[in-house]
Amino acid sequence: MTGRGPGTIIGFPHKRTSIFFLSCVSASISGDTGVIHVLESEADLEWPLSKGPNPPYMVLLESSLFTKSIMMKMKNASSRVAGVVVVPKTSPPEFSPHTTCPNENTGVYTETYDHNLAHCNTTVWNPRGNGLSYEEFDFPVFSLKEDNETEVIKQCYFDHNRVVNGSGLQYPLCAMQLFSHMHAVTDTATCMRRSSMDFSTSPVMVCDPLGGYNVCAFIRPYNSTAFGHKENESVVIAAARLDSKAFFLEDSTGAEGSVSGFVTLLAAAQALCEATQEAPRTRNILFAFFHGEVFDYIGSSRMVYDMKNNMFVIDLDNVHSILEIGQVAVRSGTNLFLHSDPVSRRNNTVHDEVTNLVKNLQSSTAGLNFSFVETDFSQPLPPSSFQRFLRARAIPGIVLADHQTDFNNRYYESFYDNAAHLNLTYPSNLSPEEQLEFVTDTAKSLTEVATAVARTLFKQAGGNNSQVNKINADPKTVTQMLYGFLVRSNNSWFQVLGSSLRCVFCLSEPNPPQYYVGVAKSSHQANALTYLVQYLLANLTGTATNLTQSQCKKPDELPNESTYLYSYLWVQGMVPPNSTQRESFCVRTAVRLVKAVSPAFDLGDYVSKEYSTWTKSQWKFIKARIFLVASRDLEMLTLGVGVAVLFTSLLVTYFVSTKADVLFSSVREPNNAAY
C-alpha cells in the first residue's frame, strides 16, 4: 500500500501533568483490525460509534471530514474504533492542527518576562488551531494517497459492508488491519531512561531526539575553529526557519509557513553577495536558516546555547541586531508588517536601534510596490526564532510578516499549506522545464521583499547609501526556487546546483522534499531539505573555482585556499549541449552546517522547561492490509466440529482397539496365529 502512517509518537513533558503525544500511542503490536466503514458525512458517524453491530470499525474518511469534532467523537468511542484512515482530497476552507499559541512555553513571553503577554493573552496567533496534532489517540491514524489501492478498499466496502435497506449485514465482511506499533512509551524522560538503561554493547534505543542541522553563512567568514567572542566584531543576523510539520509528518509542505521565509532570505543573500563583492562594511552579516523551529525552537535554542557557552564562532556580545523573515507570501493588502518586542524596547538603547532598523527597512522599499508598516507597540512578537535570542539577551530586532495581528495562514502547519495555497499557478500548456522558468506573481512579490531585505541588511551593515539601489533580487531565481521547493524537486536547476555524492539528495523523486525536521542522526547526514538549502546558498553566495575533484576534497594543500574559512563543495554542474557528461566544478563557500539538536539532550535534562525535549519513537514497520473476516459464529462452529470429531474418533478407536480380537478374528483362517 502507498499509505503512510504518521509513524511517530513524540513525547514532550508539558508543565501540566498530562503528557502530549502525536497520535497512535496504543497501537497494538499485532496490528489493529476493524471492519471497514467509509464515512460519508458527519451524521454517518453514528454507525461505527453506536449503531453498527460489528465493532470495532476501521473508519475511512476523506479530508473534508477530517475535523476536530469528528476525531474527538471517535476518540471518545475508541473501544469501537480500531483505526482511522484519511484520504486527502480537496482542501477545506481552513484547517490547522497546531495549537492556537505555537511554542508558547519556549518563546520569550513567559510569566516572568511579561505577565500580560504570556500565553497569547493579547494576540492569539493561530486562532484556527484545533490542536489535533497534540491529541492522544488509542488507535492508529493513517493517511492514504488517492490512487488505485484506495479504490480497491472502497470497492471492497461497497461489495461486502454496505447496509441495504436496514437489513442485517451478511458475513464475511471486509476488514482492514493497520500495523504501526511504536516502541516508546509515556514521555521523553521515561523513554530516554529506558534506552539508557540498556547496558549491552549495542543498546536498543526506543526513541530518538529530533534535530538536524542549521545552515549558516557569514558574508565575511571567520576561522571556524576559533570559538567565542571576537573582538571588535559586530554581526547582523538575518534569520529564517526551514522546517514545518503537518498532522501526518511526512506530508508536511509548509509553503507559507517556512518556504516563503527562507526562499526570500536565499534571494536576499544572492542579491547582497553580488553587490558587495568590493564594498567593505563595518558589520558582518550572518545568514542563519534554523531547523526544528516548529518543535519548540530546536535550531535557534541550540545556536543561542552554543553562543553562550563559547561553542560558536561568535557570541551574544557580537550580535548587533536580528532581522527575521517570517511568513511573507499571503498578503492581505500591499503592506508587510514589522513586529518588534515591546518589553526589550523599554530600554532606550534597544529602542533606538530598533527604530533605526525600522527606518532602514522603510527606506528600502522606495521604488517597490509595497511598504513596511510597524505593528501596534503593545503587541508581542509572533512565534519566531528571534524570541530565543531575546530570552538570552535584549537584542534589537524585527520580524517581518504578512499578518498584522493573527496569521493570514489558514493552514498553519497542515498539509494543505502547499503550492496551491500560495496561488502558484502555471499556464497549462507549459512543459515542466518551461514551468521552472515561468515567473509567477507570487515569485514577483517575494522578489520585491527580498530586494528590500537585502537593501536593509546592506544599510545595517554600514554600507554606502549610494550603492543601495543597485541591489536587486533576481525574480528568476525566486521562481525557480519556489518551483523546486513546492512543485517538483528533480528539476534541471536543482540538479545543476546539487551534489552528485549525497544520495539523500539524489532527487530521483519528483515530489518536494519533506519539511519535517526528522531525527538527529548520529552519522553526519542531514535530510534532503538541509542539503538543498546548503547547496543553493553555496552556489548563490559562493564562488566557482577551477579546482579538480581531488583538490576540492583537500584544498589545504593549495596556497590560496583554506578550509578554516571556507568549505568546498563539489557541484554537479550542467550538461553542455554536445555531450552527456556533466561539467562538475568546485565551489568555495562560507556556508556551514551547524548541528541543531536541543541542548536538553546534551545536558541530559529530559524534563527541561527551558529547551525542547521532543523525541520520536522508533518503530519496526508501518503497513496495512485488507481481507475478509468471518463471523464469530462460524469460527466457533469450526472449533466445535473439530473437538467433536476428535472426541468421536478417540471413542471409536478405543472401542475398536479393545475389541480388535473379536472384530478382526476370522473363522476362515483358523491357522493364523498372530494378530
Binding site: 474418533s649 471409536v652 478407536t653
Partner: protein, 258 residues
C-alpha cells in the same frame, strides 16, 4: 481466521489419525518404526513427482492457461501412480524384511503380521500426505482474516480439513486392501485401489464446488473402509457380537492358545 479456526481445522483433519496413533501404534515401538518408514516412502514418491512437475512447468508455456490446466491434471495422475508404486515397493521391502527378521529372531513366529504392517504403512502414508496437504493451510488460518476477498468461497479452510481427514482414512484403508491383494495375488483388486485413488484425486478438480468433491469422496471412504474391514478379517457377525456385548462369550467359546 484466528486460533479457533486453526484448532478446529487441525482437529478435524488429524483427529482420527491422532486417535489411531495414540491407541494402536504408540505403545509398540516396532509399529512406530514401520509407520515412520511408510511416511518416508510416501515422501519419496512426492519428491519424484515434484521433480517431474518442476521440470515440466519450467519447459512449459507459462502464459497458456489451458496448458497449465493440462499440466496440473498430468501432475495429479502421475503423483497418484507414483504413490501407488511406492506403496508396492514398500510392500516388497517389507516382505523381504520379514524373512530376514524371522531368521534373526529367537521366536518362532513373526513379531508383526503382514496385516498389521499393511495398516501401519497405510496410516504412515496418510499422516505424511495429510501433513503436506494441510500444514500450509493451517498456518494461514491463524491470521485474522478468511478467504474470499477475490470472490472465492469462504469455506476453504473447513473443506480442506474434511478432505484431508478423508485422504488420511483412505490411505489407511488402501494400505490394508493393497497388501491383502498382493498377498493373495488378486491383481484386479489392486487395480481397483489405484483407480479409486485416481478417482478421489480427480474429484478435487471440482473445487471450489466443495459439495461436489466432498460428498463423493466420503462415499468412497465408506465403501473402501467396508472393503478393508472385510479384508482384514471382519465380518458382520463379529460386528454384531461386539455391539451387543456378547464378545466375552465368543472368546471363551473360541478359546485358542496364544
Amino acid at each position: 481466521m484466528t486460533a479457533s479456526v486453526f484448532f478446529g481445522c487441525t482437529f478435524i483433519a488429524f483427529g482420527p489419525a491422532i486417535a489411531l496413533f495414540l491407541f494402536t501404534i504408540a505403545r509398540d515401538p516396532l509399529r512406530v518404526i514401520f509407520l515412520i518408514a511408510g511416511a518416508f516412502f510416501w515422501l519419496c514418491s512426492l519428491l519424484l513427482s515434484s521433480l517431474v512437475w518442476f521440470i515440466t512447468v519450467q519447459i512449459s508455456n507459462k502464459e497458456s492457461s489451458s496448458q497449465q490446466k493440462g499440466l496440473l491434471i498430468f501432475g495429479v495422475v502421475l503423483s497418484v501412480l507414483l504413490q501407488e508404486t511406492c506403496r508396492f515397493g514398500y510392500y516388497k521391502l517389507l516382505k523381504k524384511a520379514n524373512e530376514g527378521l524371522l531368521m534373526l529372531s529367537a521366536e518362532e513366529t513373526m513379531p508383526i503380521s503382514i496385516r498389521q504392517l499393511a495398516y501401519v504403512s497405510g496410516l504412515g502414508f496418510g499422516f505424511m500426505s495429510g501433513a503436506f496437504s494441510m500444514v500450509n493451510i493451517l498456518a494461514d488460518s491463524v491470521g485474522p482474516g478468511t478467504t474470499g476477498i477475490h470472490g472465492d468461497s469462504q469455506h476453504y479452510f473447513l473443506s480442506s480439513a474434511f478432505m484431508t481427514m478423508a485422504i488420511i482414512l483412505l490411505h489407511m484403508f488402501w494400505g490394508v486392501v493393497f497388501f491383502d491383494s498382493c498377498e493373495k495375488q488378486h491383481w484386479w483388486s489392486l487395480a481397483v485401489v489405484v483407480i479409486s485413488h485416481l478417482l478421489v484425486s480427480c474429484l478435487t478438480f471440482q473445487n471450489p464446488q466443495y459439495v461436489g468433491s466432498l460428498v463423493p469422496t466420503y462415499i468412497i471412504v465408506f465403501l473402501v473402509g467396508l472393503w478393508a474391514f472385510f479384508c482384514s478379517g471382519g465380518s458382520l457377525r463379529n460386528l454384531k457380537l461386539c455391539l451387543t456385548c456378547k464378545d466375552k462369550d465368543f472368546l471363551l467359546a473360541n478359546h485358542r492358545p496364544r
